[in-house]
Symmetry: C2
Subunit: 213 residues, 2 copies
Amino acid sequence: MTGTKRVPGATITRLSIYHRQLELLEFDGYRQVSSDKLAWLCQVSSAQVRKDLGYFGGFGVRGVGYDVLELQAHIREILSINKVWNLAVVGIGNLGSALLRSRGFALKGFNCVAAFDKDPAKIGKFTAAGIRIKNITELARSVKEMHVDMGVITTPPSEAQRIADMFIRGKVNALLNFSPIRIYVPDCCLVENIDFTIKLDILTYRLTHGDMN
Amino acid sequence: MTGTKRVPGATITRLSIYHRQLELLEFDGYRQVSSDKLAWLCQVSSAQVRKDLGYFGGFGVRGVGYDVLELQAHIREILSINKVWNLAVVGIGNLGSALLRSRGFALKGFNCVAAFDKDPAKIGKFTAAGIRIKNITELARSVKEMHVDMGVITTPPSEAQRIADMFIRGKVNALLNFSPIRIYVPDCCLVENIDFTIKLDILTYRLTHGDMN
């Protein structure tokens, strides 16, 4: 694989979407798919599909399209989802609980191995998946011992930065932040933010001004 | 406001992020902010801030920067979040419950007015916010009567398309889809997808291949 440093973020997002659709095609019994059909399923242009896959060498056969299983395997390798990643979730409210129970996570190799909260009523209890909820005071030490790869933050915004700092002390350098606040991390650390209200703002804009790409 | 049809989606996303940071600046007592500082807070370049705001006329004063309250008001108008929008949530599991309780939604004028599920054990019960959970068989009629603006889908993937169709029959033309499946809607309808596992794929890619923009 060459030149991966220059791949746009939007391409990586789309690769993840292509992979999802390829799984569904496999489930439906398809072995081949044209770039036109894959593009239609993913609501992008087929030129976009070819361009995105072109960053990594192409994979398609002219006039035949893509092998559904092969392309899945290639994308899994590109995205590094062909291994198991250990996740720790902090903030075991409704959202944290929903994530811990998510079959989607587990099926894709994201394994929730630890859960933390600061509420004494929750600490020591077990989640539906059988994970004992620990006190956040144990976070930094615990995630290091358990080889956690990624931290998931679903606390109120006022706690989010403190939790991020704890993860970094515990040598966890990738964070998924559901709290509606930007968190600041050193350059060695990666953060992806999920803010539902931003998506709502996009909908209100599109409803009012007409669609956009 | 001119030319809003040609504004890129990424600009709209960033406007929402700028708005969030301007609220925080207001809370901290700031009345002015430079484009450099706003850019730093939002983790973009100051050229990007000026370009994004330039689509709508600029708003800044050279050498002074932006008025924190004025720019907030402008962005609220651009995004059409200066009014109240009615939301209906379908699928009252952990995630649906978390959304119904979200203070972030209510504070930004997104008002959850209806909740639906198909589980007889939930139908008729009240959510923490005092909304009675209705049977999804009532969805299309109910959302039309209640003037729901947006539908939020947090059902399992196997139900998502059916729920989307019900919303469309109920004249709800904007959907926020949390289900990890693409849903297909007529051109008059808008969909924004939130798929957590895509964000995880981006993190695994970045962890493995080094950062990307």
